[in-house]
């Protein structure tokens, strides 16, 4: 039964049922329960299948959104998931963590007047991917015959997994080197269980392993093997660098080195990767703050604040220099944080952290800000208000104000071209200045999103394929692997 546009317009957006805030702020279970098939179909029927498919251009990897939604409306859920996977290999993850309101949903015609009325594309993406996985409908994709080329992928985060997934299907032998003992990068160490259940990441990694991707854990490239050694000694034909986040920045104010002051990375890594939230079964301890201050307005800040509440903090305060609508965090995360009674001190910036005699943080002094002229990013610049300060008590401070480039690879690969901030320079397709070495994700762009890292991975996989295929007419000698004079190793 084909609905008219008017009938479609009449359907209200379906939110996902969620754990109530008073319940979820004491557990680490995922917050939204997911759609029922009926809800998914009804939500899919809201899509007008516009001729000008703005949603597709709003998506960094150009998922064929109206087409997959049409399949959902026909209850062809697994088919819809498979269609998404032609463009996005990790839909269960992107459905959960993409900032849809500034991408596909942000340009949806149904949300033109009110963004909260846009078709819930992210929810539908999550639903079909979960449906396919939970009903064991995941199909092993077609894999081309082995072409004899070996590719090393450094890092198993969103971009590394994408590169590995794309290249294994094209017939490459793919080996991922992961520094940690679990795969997934930021998906496992950074994003908490209540937002990104680890079993989903594990399922995606298992699927890649089933396709033949090899993963070596506990392998820190730059130290265990240098990038050049991957070619010379280990015989790889191309290397993709997707090592992600770098060194955390600590706001340079008095008191920054007091005990109780953490980088959000450390706090989240303890809780997520090392599972400190299950201490003492898992041995890594965690300081449980009573009054916690979180500095920053991004997703990492929201994740830290909401983790602190779940670990038993009495009060959690987010301190952010700009206004609410300028926070880079996903709208859903800000909304969830507010529901969980996290306090927001907006247009405020810390000037000092107070400590006691034992050297532990006890409080914070902040300056009030107001919005001034727009800066180069187009956002109104926050300007400090003279002599306007306030103080509050806190025994834990979590800094989530960004990072610097990780030096492990670049410092041990001196001929790699980097920019003045230490990030790797690449062309639009992820090619670095070193032949057959590619890079993508946060190590190129600085802190960004999961989907943009995946987009970079996808482009780099194309470039690797294109560049290596030019080599097929020559011998299969590894391009970087010519033995040096007098080197008998090969």
């Amino acid at each position: 039964m084909e609905l008219t546009a008017k009938e479609r317009m009449a359907i209200e957006r379906h939110g996902m049922a969620e754990q109530p805030p008073d319940l979820r702020n004491r557990n680490f279970e995922e917050v939204p329960y997911g759609y029922t098939p009926e809800e998914a179909v009804a939500e899919a029927q809201r899509c007008l299948s516009c001729k000008k498919m703005q949603c597709i251009s709003g998506c960094p990897v150009e998922v064929p959104i109206p087409e997959f939604i049409a399949l959902v409306a026909e209850e062809k859920f697994a088919e819809a998931a498979r269609l998404i996977k032609t463009k996005n290999v990790l839909p269960a993850i992107c459905g959960r963590v993409c900032p849809q309101e500034s991408q596909c949903e942000g340009v949806c015609i149904r949300g033109k007047k009110d963004i909260t009325k846009a078709v819930a594309i992210g929810n539908l993406e999550r639903f079909v991917a979960d449906y396919e996985r939970e009903n064991n409908l995941m199909e092993v994709p077609e894999i081309k015959d082995k072409n004899g080329f070996k590719v090393a992928v450094i890092g198993s985060g969103p971009s590394g997994l994408t590169v590995a997934g794309d290249l294994i299907k094209l017939g490459y032998e793919v080996t991922i080197y992961e520094a940690f003992h679990r795969g997934g990068g930021v998906l496992v160490y950074g994003i908490p269980e209540f937002r990104m259940p680890k079993r989903i990441v594990e399922a995606e990694i298992r699927a890649l392993e089933d396709l033949g991707v090899k993963i070596y854990y506990n392998s820190v490239i730059g130290r265990l093997h240098k990038v050049d050694d991957l070619f010379k000694t280990l015989g790889f034909n191309a290397v993709y660098i997707g090592v992600g986040a770098g060194l955390p920045i600590f706001l340079d104010i008095p008191g920054k080195n007091l005990n109780g002051v953490f980088s959000a990375n450390e706090y989240l890594t303890r809780s997520n990767l090392m599972k400190s939230y299950l201490f003492p079964k898992y041995r890594t301890p965690m300081i449980i703050g009573k009054k916690v201050a979180v500095l920053g307005g991004g997703n990492v800040a929201m994740d830290s604040a909401r983790t602190a509440i779940r670990l038993g903090a009495e009060k959690v305060t987010i301190v952010y220099r700009r206004a609410r609508e300028q926070m880079p965090a996903r709208a859903a995360e800000v909304h969830h944080a507010e529901q969980e009674k996290i306090e927001f001190r907006l247009l405020s910036s810390p000037v000092e952290i107070y400590g006691n005699e034992e050297g532990w943080a006890t409080g914070m002094k902040c300056q009030r800000y107001e919005l001034g002229e727009p800066d180069e990013s187009g956002r109104q610049r926050p300007v400090p208000i003279k002599d306007s300060f306030f103080e509050f008590d806190c025994d834990q401070v979590l800094m989530s104000i960004g990072g610097q480039a990780n030096p492990l690879i670049t410092s041990t690969t001196p001929d790699m071209k980097i920019n003045k901030w230490g990030y790797i320079e690449t062309d639009d397709w992820g090619r670095t200045n070193k032949e057959f070495v590619y890079a993508g994700g946060d190590i190129v762009t600085g802190a960004a999103t999961v989907i943009s890292a995946m987009g970079a991975g996808r482009r780099a996989a194309k470039a690797i394929h294109e560049d290596l295929m030019k080599e097929t007419d020559e011998t299969l000698q590894p391009p970087g692997g010519e033995t040096e004079e007098g080197d008998e190793e090969k």
């Binding site: 520094a179 940690f180 003992h181 160490y189 854990y217 506990n218 392998s219 820190v220 130290r223 265990l224 093997h225 992600g244 986040a245 770098g246 060194l247 955390p248 600590f250 080195n257 005990n259 109780g260 953490f262 980088s263 990375n265 450390e266 890594t269 303890r270 990767l273 090392m274 201490f279 003492p280 079964k281 898992y282 041995r283 890594t284 301890p285 965690m286 300081i287 034992e358 050297g359 990780n406 030096p407 492990l408």
Partner: protein
């Protein structure tokens, strides 16, 4: 993976020889590994004391101090560690200094060995100074003698060498006018601080291998940060060695003790197995 192939107990320091061929192949003096005994463990940074590229084995001396190291200590030959990540950190700067003094205490007795060896190979005069509470608590001595021109001892009870600590031996040497061109120290934070204070008046270049709390070991988390000369440095990627005369020791000690409460609670709650009783029951 990471099979434990040899184990010995030197009181609360445990010698663990682990199969890790890739690490044995790429490691250099001064670097460390991060290990986890099982999937529940903490990630623990440990200085690597020796390695063999032929057998693919690395030798660690692990001080039993908390729950995770206790569980490591309970492992048996044939068991496998869950994680051995490395090598990590910047290798020691090895060159011809002239006379090099190396001081080691506790796990640092093993820790200074590869640096001593590399310094000896680089043509330096190597003086190794090691401390322990009692004479029977020394270990790795034969190896250390083989790469040192001189090995000096210090014990708390005076049962071997000088009664006192490494810093007392160093101070005495310096007072006597022994010329030292470079010093390296590995051991507990208190020892590192005191040894650095001993070399400071003589302006002897002093490197200390810091043992701050670490988590990922790749520079991502900042748990290991230390202030050196007023700058924030990350021990895992900028270190582990720093100028001992510039380290903010007070801050480092404070950060190292941040988890004492949780650590002791969980350590105390661990069921104690009395080895003497086991022996009496004939189980050992």
């Amino acid at each position: 993976m990471y099979e434990l192939i040899e184990k010995a107990e030197i009181f609360n320091v445990h010698k663990m020889v682990i199969k890790a061929p890739e690490i044995a192949h790429s490691i250099q003096a001064g670097q460390f590994v991060i290990i986890m005994g099982n999937e529940y463990s903490e990630r623990i940074p440990i200085t690597v004391s020796d390695w063999n590229t032929d057998t693919g084995a690395i030798t660690l001396y692990v001080l039993e101090l908390g729950i995770s190291t206790l569980e490591l200590a309970r492992m048996k030959v044939g068991d496998s560690l869950y994680v051995v990540t490395g090598p990590l950190g910047i290798p020691s700067e090895i060159k011809k200094y002239g006379t090099v003094a190396l001081g080691g205490g506790c796990y640092g007795i093993g820790g200074i060995y590869p640096i001593a060896k590399a310094c000896k190979e680089a043509g330096n005069k190597v003086i190794s100074i090691i401390e322990a509470r009692y004479s029977f608590m020394f270990y790795h001595e034969k190896e250390l003698h083989a790469v040192s021109d001189q090995v000096l001892y210090a014990t708390s009870d005076g049962s071997k060498g000088k009664k006192g600590k490494v810093e007392d031996v160093i101070r005495e040497m310096l007072e006597k006018g022994v010329k030292i061109d470079q010093a390296f120290f590995i051991g507990c934070t208190q020892m590192l601080e005191r040894c650095s204070e001993a070399t400071r008046p003589y302006a002897i270049p002093t490197k200390v291998a810091l043992n701050s709390i670490m988590l990922d070991g790749t520079g991502m988390c900042g748990a290991c940060r230390v202030s050196v000369g007023g700058e924030t440095k990350f021990a895992c990627v900028d270190g582990p060695e720093f100028d001992g005369h510039k380290v903010d020791w007070k801050e480092l000690n404070r950060r190292r003790s941040a988890y004492t409460e949780q650590e002791s609670v969980i350590y105390q709650s661990y069921s104690h197995e009395c080895m003497a009783e086991k022996k009496l029951r004939g189980e050992l």
